[in-house]
Symmetry: C3
Subunit: 316 residues, 3 copies
């Protein structure tokens, strides 16, 4: 397995979920297969769950871990080709990627979109330039447009908690004071499409996601309609794709609260975290038994451990 950057990199979601749940039962059973192997975790952006769960999973496999905050520990990275680098950036991504891959057996990379230039963001430049210049497998720890480890953990969590064979899953937009990426939402839809669920979307007018991720998905602009009969409510803010990077105004009523949850089929509540309490979701919902957010975070370990095992076992 050369890369894990999207659901399209794996063969069978159901099979992967089953194996990840086996890992969860006995996470140390393969604790020698990473001996003398090193994963380098490269962060252009903050991270808590991804950073810790990936370290944990790597250590469960006996791997060594090196963490780099690229913007502060190292040098400012230039992404453009052909630039005369006489300004702020100190090292080109070509060299950085090629060099780092010599010190690591697997690379994890986190990067965020600019939310200013849609075309460039959706080309997923940083990720793809790394992929072009490295000689070892790469795991996306969230890219400009996708967050596959989160989605994989989400599918694991839904599988563990579903009652119906084919539950109804609502991905609902929620308010947020800052412009956020569409990565978690895009990625969630990609993975839902390969999972036995009925997935629908609720978002305000002007906040439709890119067509490539929403095709065949019913999109509601009235949140309450979408919630009817739902088994899982997945809340997440994203900034506008159409009016690229714009945040929602006067949309506080899109917060998920108990009244809305009461419209559902006793739905479970999901969010990738970090979550802004009483903005995205009310305390009452988040602190209720319906909330799966802590378990979603727990499953991040087993999701990435599954990916690492594939990379270590299959060679490169």
């Amino acid at each position: 397995m050369k890369k894990f950057t999207s659901v399209t990199d794996i063969d069978n979601v159901e099979d992967w979920v089953r194996k990840a749940l086996e890992i969860k039962k006995n996470p140390l059973v393969n604790n020698k297969i990473g001996a003398n192997k090193t994963i380098g975790l490269l962060f252009f952006n903050p991270s808590l769950r991804t950073r810790m769960s990936t370290q944990k999973a790597a250590q469960n496999l006996g791997m060594n871990v090196m963490v780099m905050n690229l913007n502060t520990d190292g040098w400012k990275i230039e992404l453009e080709d052909g630039t005369v680098m006489n300004q702020g950036s100190q090292e080109h991504i070509k060299e950085a990627a090629a060099v780092i891959s010599q010190y690591c057996d697997v690379i994890g990379l986190r990067t965020f979109p600019s939310l200013k230039d849609r075309e460039k963001d959706y080309a997923d430049d940083v990720l793809n330039k790394f992929l072009s210049n490295i000689s070892v497998p790469l795991i996306s720890l969230e890219s400009a447009i996708l967050h596959p480890l989160q989605s994989f953990a989400d599918v694991i969590t839904i599988t563990e908690n579903k009652i119906l064979k084919r539950p109804k899953v609502v991905l609902t937009w929620a308010p947020h004071p800052k412009a956020l990426p569409q990565a978690v939402a895009n990625s969630f839809l990609e993975w839902m499409r390969k999972t036995e669920v009925e997935v629908v979307i609720a978002n305000p007018l002007g906040f439709n996601l890119a067509a490539e991720y929403t095709r065949n998905c019913k999109v509601y602009h009235k949140q309450e309609e979408a919630f009817e009969n739902a088994d899982f409510i997945y809340a997440k803010n994203w900034s506008s794709y159409d009016d690229y990077g714009a945040i929602g105004k006067n949309l506080d009523h899109w917060m998920v609260d108990e009244a809305k949850m009461s419209l559902t089929n006793n739905a479970k509540f999901m969010h990738c975290l970090p979550v802004r309490r009483n903005v995205v979701v009310s305390d009452a919902v988040l602190d209720s038994k319906a909330s799966l957010v802590i378990e979603q975070a727990n499953n991040r370990t087993y999701a990435v451990q599954m990916v690492l095992q594939k990379m270590l076992k299959n060679g490169q």
Copy 2:
């Protein structure tokens, strides 16, 4: 052992010191008991000795270590309950603590007081909110009001260096240009009370510590009087408890120097470090054979290793 946050969490100081000194003689004798266990070190504030000695101790036990600088590596943490999180903070401590404890077998946490709101600081909020939301043992790496690992190392150092069975120990306030916590001083008194010593305090008027930590302790406002016949001088600055967070003005003469040390019974000099030279203590005293500061730092490793061994052996 579920937590190590104060001397009140341990049964017998003398016994703990004896066992820590055994660890010091042979620190690798238990280097398998931490196998496949992970300690997560969480820093809201800077740290050198604590960071490195805790890593060292964990590695002596064969543990894995994950370090997070919470303010820069992760997300800005909200501490208050019920807040509408539409401002700067990005993740609530409830989620952060619950999530992190899923990735770790032991958590170490460092936090400092605001030195603005005494009531809130002395409620030790950050520490206690972590304790309420985690499922694994926690070690305080210094909280808003106590620094038990430092005090434990201090007791070890006094035990190693005392000549008299019951030495006289002076905790003396010393000058400092910035407002510092009372944690080291509070904690030192807590541990001294459970150690076979005579402890007295010297501090300027207006710099008495909280009564709960000083009860039964003689407090001198003339430093020279306190130093008479002392066997150990423990210097430390703290900002005012009464005029909360105020720093001392025109108190430069409280610096510990050779003239003052000559009033003692050939006392040893102690400080927790970092220390500002020629402000808190003169070069001559710090560079003399009487100074134990480097050994105090060394003993930090064995103090925390003792705590870790208790947590690993007794289960959780």
Copy 3:
């Protein structure tokens, strides 16, 4: 081996290169000799290659690694003796060095020059104050005036790639928008003098290096003349030694490009990285087969692993 801070700390460059190349063939053969040993990597300045290659090498030997960014993770360090520390700095280098060396079996230290006070920089104060206050071996991860790990990796790379028994090596100054240290250049010359090569220097007027590093070396002020018949072109910017810290103006024509490379004997191109593309060297040269920069970075691992093996095997 107590320290690795300069070529003068090793006995025989040729022998060391030969052994490093053996390590490169089989880097895990000694993966037990570092068991239960800890290297502390201390950074006053950014680092990517040094940080990652040293971690990798230490892990190849089974060592534990602790990384500290001294300016941000810890306390602001005071370097001067006798200072009244009532300003910004919080901990004196005497304590910091003595304390840290108690937690580590080997220390790695990176520090940069001020480029303002030549006398102080060339006294290599930070490095030497660490050396005076530690009790374990120290590896320079680049000091104010030398970068021996880089130079050792450079000699390894030249040895692997040379065709002639005694190749001609050109160290050429190159443009850069910011004032950079002379460390890489000084150090390269020190190591070249102990290697079987003909080394010459090309730099603009006003950019001669310190005489102590250039003695017996021909210095050209016309870059093209130096390039004639060269087998290796080593490009590097440095700020002025004479007009200390001054950067070059109107010297963009010193960039290495294909036209200049065509004057050589099919020379290989070398640079220590990070490199500013189209300022120091053109894309065409850096992306050509003649470029060895990625392999130089790869050899950093084996260079530092050789040093570590010497320190671990010979005891301290």
